[in-house]
């Protein structure tokens, strides 16, 4: 199981690659609103797929909403609650 810090830092990396944000991910805190930072619903789809891939999880229907992707913390909460604390194939 990855530590919370490692999970959020993996999410930051995915955001950098797939989020297509209008600002640098490094300039965001874990609670900043990602939609305000330029995340669009279309980019949410790419972000979702990348996160599923990275953590080897699948977001069920009830997680497929804006709130799940509202902030880095919100995404980390979702990842953890879906048992995706460790990266697929990563050595923990």
């Amino acid at each position: 199981m990855q530590s919370r810090d490692a999970t959020t830092s993996s999410i930051r990396q995915v955001l950098q690659d797939a989020g297509n944000l209008a600002v640098e991910v490094d300039s965001l805190t874990d609670i900043d609103d990602l939609y305000d930072a330029g995340l669009t619903s279309l980019n949410t789809v790419n972000l979702m797929l990348a996160i599923e891939d990275l953590f080897g999880i699948e977001f069920p229907d009830e997680f497929l909403n804006r709130d799940t992707f509202q902030s880095i913390n919100a995404i980390a909460d979702a990842v953890v609650s879906l048992g995706g604390g460790s990266q697929k194939g990563a050595v923990a």
Binding site: Y35, D36, T44, D67
Partner: protein, 389 residues
């Protein structure tokens, strides 16, 4: 008020809306269309009956009707004049945005009270030149200096801007904010300078006078809604717009179907109705029923969210998709139904100078799928499919 008493008031209001439609909208619909003019007679009647404050809760001085009733009224008005019904709907959409999301400041509540008391007409400036029709992003920014907020927006379309009392404008929260970080600002029209940049000579919905303007205004910081626009858009503007528009389109479709049947009834007195025509009428009826069912399912699911204040449900990607689907389905059903009605009524429907003409219906019908383009919405829905199980 007791349940029975409020039901009686509801029925009376339904009758008032229908009477205004029949006596004021219908006789002027052709003139509003040909002159491409604001239907001022209709709005005088709406004001006289408090209908511009229909969605304002009664404790704030309004009629306190719900979304289901607004939908019903838009449908009624759509039967008589599409342009007037569209302006009525656009106004109520803005009122709903305020009613659902205001309340954090006295200033916001005062505006809502004022809408009911003074029967203010609300317009909206959401689309902007350069954003590709995406309501969720702005170029224009709210620039605060001391106790003044300055705005300048290049709006390709502001419907009935010259007849609105207040214009709700979307803008970036500040000049440094990203395109999606938006606020909703209300601008009293007397505080706005509007320079016309585009005319409105369209095929249909001509009475909405959807001209383009460069809008500049200076307002107080209290005119900026305290809730971010993104939330207002997903919780209220998108669902309400798609529901109320679809409602008036249903009214237009019903009216076209009714004109087609009237024309065949008239002809049937001289000669028997050909079996193919009867069959086409039956098919048209199926299409109208399907359109109604699509709309009603959307009205019910949104009304349930509003009744339980369960905003969480509007955050689901599937909810946004469902609301978009209603807009797409109903606007395309409208074109289909008007086309069927024309095939039934034939040459009389095709003539502009016949009592069974469907010329205005046909021109208005295409507006439903082109103004807020279905293909753009569908492209978005297509991309979102992977975020559905």
């Amino acid at each position: 008020m007791s349940k029975e008493a409020s039901a009686t008031v509801g029925q009376t209001l339904d009758a008032i809306v229908d009477r205004i439609g029949r006596e004021i909208l219908a006789p002027l619909a052709s003139d509003v269309d040909s002159q491409s003019r604001f239907p001022s007679e209709a709005f005088a009647a709406f004001r006289e009956n408090g209908l511009l404050g229909a969605y304002v809760p009664s404790p704030l001085g309004g009629l306190g009707v719900n979304m289901r009733t607004l939908s019903h009224w838009c449908e009624t008005l759509g039967n008589y004049c599409a342009s007037t019904a569209m302006i009525f709907a656009m106004h109520q959409i803005q009122v709903a945005c305020l009613v659902h999301h205001a309340g954090n400041s006295d200033h916001e509540l005062d505006l809502i009270r004022q809408i009911a008391r003074d029967q203010l007409l609300l317009g909206s400036a959401t689309t902007e030149i350069g954003t590709g029709g995406d309501l969720g992003s702005s170029i224009c920014a709210a620039e605060q200096t001391g106790d003044r907020v300055k705005l300048e927006k290049q709006a390709p379309v502001i419907s009935y801007a010259e007849d609105a009392d207040v214009i709700m404008v979307t803008a970036r929260a500040n000049p440094q904010a990203t395109a999606n970080d938006q606020v909703h600002v209300w601008v009293e029209r007397t505080n706005a300078t509007m320079q016309q940049i585009a005319t409105w000579d369209a095929l249909g919905f001509r009475g909405t006078r959807s001209l383009g303007y460069r809008l500049s205004a200076e307002v107080t910081p209290e005119n900026v809604m305290s809730v971010p626009f993104g939330l207002i858009l997903s919780r209220t503007m998108q669902p309400t717009a798609h529901i109320l528009w679809s409602s008036l389109w249903l009214g237009m479709a019903e009216n076209a179907a009714s004109i087609a049947r009237r024309s065949i009834r008239a002809a049937s007195r001289k000669a028997p109705v050909p079996p193919t025509t009867s069959l086409r009428m039956a098919e048209m009826d199926e299409a109208v029923q399907q359109m109604r069912a699509t709309l009603e399912s959307g009205v019910e699911s949104y009304q349930q969210i509003l009744d339980t204040r369960n905003w969480q449900r509007t955050s689901a990607f599937s909810f946004g998709l469902a609301m978009n689907n209603i807009k797409i389905s109903c606007s395309e059903a409208l074109v289909d139904i008007v086309g069927k009605a024309m095939a039934i009524a034939g040459i009389n429907a095709y003539r502009n100078d016949h009592e069974h003409t469907l010329g205005r219906h046909l021109r208005d019908a295409y507006g439903a799928m082109l103004m807020v383009n279905n293909d753009r919405i569908r492209t978005h829905n297509a991309a979102m499919q992977l975020a559905q199980r």
